[in-house]
């Protein structure tokens, strides 16, 4: 039977995991599924590696979705990206080139416990689901838990807050697993992309301070190119710039950590919309949102193949 999967609806965690297994089974020459660890509640943290198998080492791109549980458009986009990459490989020479020259590591659901909880109990849950006995509140903001200027400005020390930084950096097994993987592969990793919602923005470091990164010219050019590519789809405008000035100051973020860890291009997307639906972006808008974002991510990836 032909595997049918609807990329224009939101899927619960179990369906996304089944889909990952199916992609791995049906595209063995381009896909490799593996786990980088376990979540707080014991769920596997799956990553899909996309790209031609070659003997020489390739540059790599990491993309994660669903750091914050309630941002459902994130995992929807990660699935869309994989689908598009695999479906267009045969007839799209630029995609073929990308998959030949780069490895893409796609983590469709970073915060698996939180995502599951947002489907089962609290639609607007944001954090992880970890718990320390001495506190009555659960969860840590994974995007405040990375080991970079941890728990300074823009993060909270209170366990009940939605921006709680955690008891210590990388306290969350999900954050620790991703950090460990990226540290291990830092030699080849050229871009880090994290998908969030909502605000229609493309952000780069720094988040923790007002300041300009050393390779600002290259990163700004890449961001400009990505936003232009995105706009070319349906005319939707995204603002772009350093996270600290474009959004707000926050410490312990994944893009700051990735950048500090030597990944030259670190981006966070805040997808549609700007507040009309917020986290409740209708399924009818999954297609357009993912189509335009696909163009932006492809622009970033293509830029990695050129010198800057």
């Amino acid at each position: 039977s032909v595997f049918q999967y609807d990329y224009e609806v939101y899927h619960p965690l179990e369906e996304i995991q089944s889909w990952m297994f199916e992609m791995n089974r049906t595209h063995p020459h381009l896909v490799d599924l593996f786990s980088i660890g376990r979540s707080y509640e014991g769920r596997p943290l799956y990553v899909l590696q996309l790209g031609n198998r070659v003997r020489t080492s390739k540059k790599a791109v990491w993309m994660d979705c669903g750091v914050h549980a309630r941002e459902w458009i994130g995992p929807a986009f990660c699935q869309w990206f994989v689908k598009e990459a695999l479906n267009s490989y045969q007839h799209d020479s630029s995609m073929r080139r990308l998959l030949k020259q780069l490895n893409f590591y796609i983590m469709p659901v970073f915060n698996v416990d939180g995502y599951h909880y947002s489907w089962k109990s609290d639609r607007f849950w944001r954090k992880t689901r970890s718990k320390k006995a001495k506190y009555h509140c659960r969860g840590v903001d994974a995007n405040r838990n990375f080991k970079v200027k941890w728990c300074e400005e823009g993060a909270s020390t209170h366990p009940c807050d939605d921006t709680y930084c955690g008891p210590f950096p990388e306290s969350e097994p999900e954050v620790k697993a991703v950090s460990r993987f990226l540290r291990k592969h830092k030699k080849h990793m050229r871009a880090y992309i994290s998908i969030h919602a909502y605000a229609q923005m493309l952000l780069y470091p720094y988040s923790y301070k007002y300041g300009t990164i050393p390779n600002f010219d290259c990163v700004e050019t890449a961001a400009q190119s990505a936003v232009s590519a995105l706009y070319s789809a349906y005319g939707v405008r995204y603002r772009y710039g350093p996270a600290s000035t474009t959004l707000y100051v926050s410490s312990g973020s994944s893009i700051d950590w990735a950048y500090k860890n030597g990944i030259p291009y670190a981006f966070a997307f805040e997808l549609r919309d700007t507040g009309h639906y917020g986290f409740l972006l209708p399924e009818a808008l999954i297609g357009p949102t993912c189509t335009e974002t696909m163009r932006a991510v492809r622009a970033i990836a293509s830029g990695l193949l050129k010198k800057c």
């Binding site: 939605d162 009309h276 409740l280």
Partner: protein, 99 residues
């Protein structure tokens, strides 16, 4: 119904503090009132001139609007009923499951 209908009557408001006084008032308000901040994700990240999107439960909407009115702080209603919007978000799937 999705989530046992717990979001019926919940609303999402947008408030843009336009002065230091309004900013201070909102920060105090959201530190003392149980609300779900959609953006920014913390009351400490509220800034003058930047939108605050707040999801408030049905039992608190009237009180919040009253407090804003008394403080002469304008607000805009982004979502009038979160449950209804939620049912629309997952389209045919939730209806199909109910059928």
């Amino acid at each position: 119904y999705l989530y046992n209908n717990r979001y019926v009557g919940d609303q999402v408001l947008r408030i843009i503090p336009s002065s230091p006084g309004e900013l201070h008032y909102l920060k105090q308000l959201f530190q003392n009132m149980t609300v779900d901040l959609w953006q920014p994700s913390s009351s400490n990240l509220i800034h003058e001139g930047k939108a605050v999107d707040v999801h408030v439960g049905r039992d608190r909407t009237a009180r919040l609007k009253n407090l804003l009115r008394r403080a002469h702080i304008q607000h805009e209603l982004l979502i009038t009923d979160v449950q209804r919007e939620m049912e629309k978000q997952t389209g045919y799937r939730s209806n199909r499951k109910r059928r």
